[in-house]
Amino acid sequence: MDALLEVRNVSKRFGAVEALKDVSVSLAPGEVLGVVGDNGAGKSTLMKVISGAHPPDSGELRLAGQPASFASPRAARQAGIEMIYQDLALADHLDVGANIFLGREPLRRLAGVVPVIDDATVRAEVVALLGRIESHIPDPETRVLALSGGQRQAVAIARALYWKAKVVIMDEPTAALAAIESRNVLRMARSLARDGVGILFIDHNLLEVLEVCDRVAVMYRGSKVYECRASETSQDELVRYMTGFSVQGAAVPA
């Protein structure tokens, strides 16, 4: 299958810190790629380069085979790359529908002249969307402030889905969630992938990674040191690469 997103030989440094060293990864449509690594390994920096928040020092991004460079997160989003922020950045006092459509509300004309928000359309679309990601939000007119952490993730994911994201980046989406809610987020990630979205999934919980991802890339001190199919690896193996034990000729324990 053709790559949806290709990262080619990307490097990025912050002063003396080489946050990314010649990193290459690719992502196919409908694929969930796990990115794991110790704190400071460069995972978030890689995601920020992909989502347009940091320009790379060298290397290139390709989207559907075409070279792409994003001047801002906004430009990346327009190209179909949606980052689901750790802080989620939802407007708590607005309802689910208002958040999903924020900034892009469908309008209709009252009496043929006055533009008003088309609430019926919003509602119908939101019901369909929440169904698609199998979320458990009972009512699109629930205010976000009454939602649990997992439900807030669902709102952010639905937003990405509706706006036709091709690549969705989830940076530690389950970090602040109760176990049961984490499961729902994993399920939503899978249903996004079934819709053909490519997902970059960062998580510290390797069990979750092995469960939800198709492939896993391991980062170690700014470099991608290992990549494999999730079905062909184990927690132990991933940990060995994450801690640098299997890297650069270090002895691999039998």
Partner: protein
């Protein structure tokens, strides 16, 4: 265990109905307070319940309600406009000078004054959005500037002799309801429509709820906030115009403390100084409550100095309750 095998439905719920109930509870609180105060003041002075007095209340509430409408939008963005009273004074002077000293036709004087109010708002808005001065300080500065400006126009002397065509804005009634109350009512209806049904209203609440989220959604937050203060300035000017027509005179002391009435009205009506919430209906009920408080204490023979003290306590009390509400959520 596969990811698909689990399904959870035990989440906190807040359907449209419970939300509506919450809003109704807030309105019910304002309404109950209105009824309680009405009973108290009726007992203190029988004249309080006279039709003449209620006609009077309908006139008085108009100015506070107009200000409360502007304040609702500002507070919904997590801002505050404490310049309102002074801007009422300044625009009162401008409208009277235009209509009397410059002999402009009333409609021209009115439009000019609204424009002046919008300009005052623009200055506040730009101070906040481009200089990064917090709304409290920016509008506090304008409070001083506008009051100084109002005093400077005539060196502190009032302007009389307004033409009948100007006075009719406030004086006279339609269907038994004072003109000025109609003005406030129409403004409130338009404002409620804008706040609830349009993108402008939606963005107002979104910015107040989470400005960063609004920014990421592509909303031009600075431009929107600037516009909010322009509208607030224009509504203060409308209140100034109505004030002049109502009292048939323009004085630089017009509108003193009115910002306190409007802030209290908004918060009592369910608005929160933390932003993201507020309804026009609530704010108008809050305005009615504050008007009854003012009118009733006067009729009960309570000194205006004491009324000042009560006003201060009500404002602080309302904001304190707002704090509690937020923490309890």
């Amino acid at each position: 265990m596969s990811v698909e095998s689990l399904s959870v439905t035990a989440y906190p719920r807040q359907s449209r109905r419970t939300r509506l109930l919450q809003e109704l509870r807030q309105l019910a609180f304002a309404l109950a307070s209105i009824i309680a105060l009405t009973i108290i003041f009726a007992l203190l002075n029988a004249r309080f319940m006279s039709p003449v007095n209620w006609y009077h209340i309908a006139q008085q509430v108009a100015i506070i309600a107009i200000l409360a409408v502007g304040q609702t939008f500002v507070i919904a963005t997590a801002g505050i406009d404490i310049s309102q009273g002074s801007v009422v004074a300044l625009t009162a002077m401008i409208s009277a000078l235009a209509a009397v000293n410059l002999g402009m036709p009333p409609i021209v004087a009115v439009l000019l004054t609204l424009l002046a109010g919008a300009l005052v708002g623009l200055v506040m808005g730009l101070t906040i959005t481009t200089l990064g001065v917090p709304p409290f300080i920016a509008t506090l500065g304008m409070l001083a500037v506008a009051l100084g400006g109002a005093l400077l126009t005539t060196n502190g002397t009032p302007v009389f002799g307004l033409p009948q065509g100007f006075l009719v804005i406030a004086q006279g009634d339609f269907l038994g309801f004072p003109h000025m109350a109609w003005i406030a009512l129409i403004l409130a209806l338009i404002a409620a429509f804008v706040l609830n049904r349009t993108r402008f209203g939606r963005y107002t609440l979104a910015i107040g709820s989470n400005a960063e989220s609004a920014r990421r959604a592509g909303i031009d937050v600075r431009r929107h906030l600037t516009l909010i203060y322009v509208l607030a300035g224009a509504t203060s000017a409308l209140a100034g115009i109505v004030y002049v027509a109502y009292t048939a005179a323009a004085q630089p002391t017009a509108g003193q403390n009115y910002e306190l009435y409007s802030i209290a009205a908004v918060v009592i009506g369910g608005g929160s100084l933390f932003g993201g919430v507020g309804t026009i209906l609530g704010s108008v009920l809050g305005a009615l409550l504050m008007t009854i408080l003012r009118n009733g204490t006067e009729l009960a023979g309570i000194s205006p100095y004491v009324e000042q003290v009560i006003l201060g306590v009500v404002v602080v009390g309302a904001v304190y309750v707002d704090n509690l509400r937020r923490r309890l959520r």
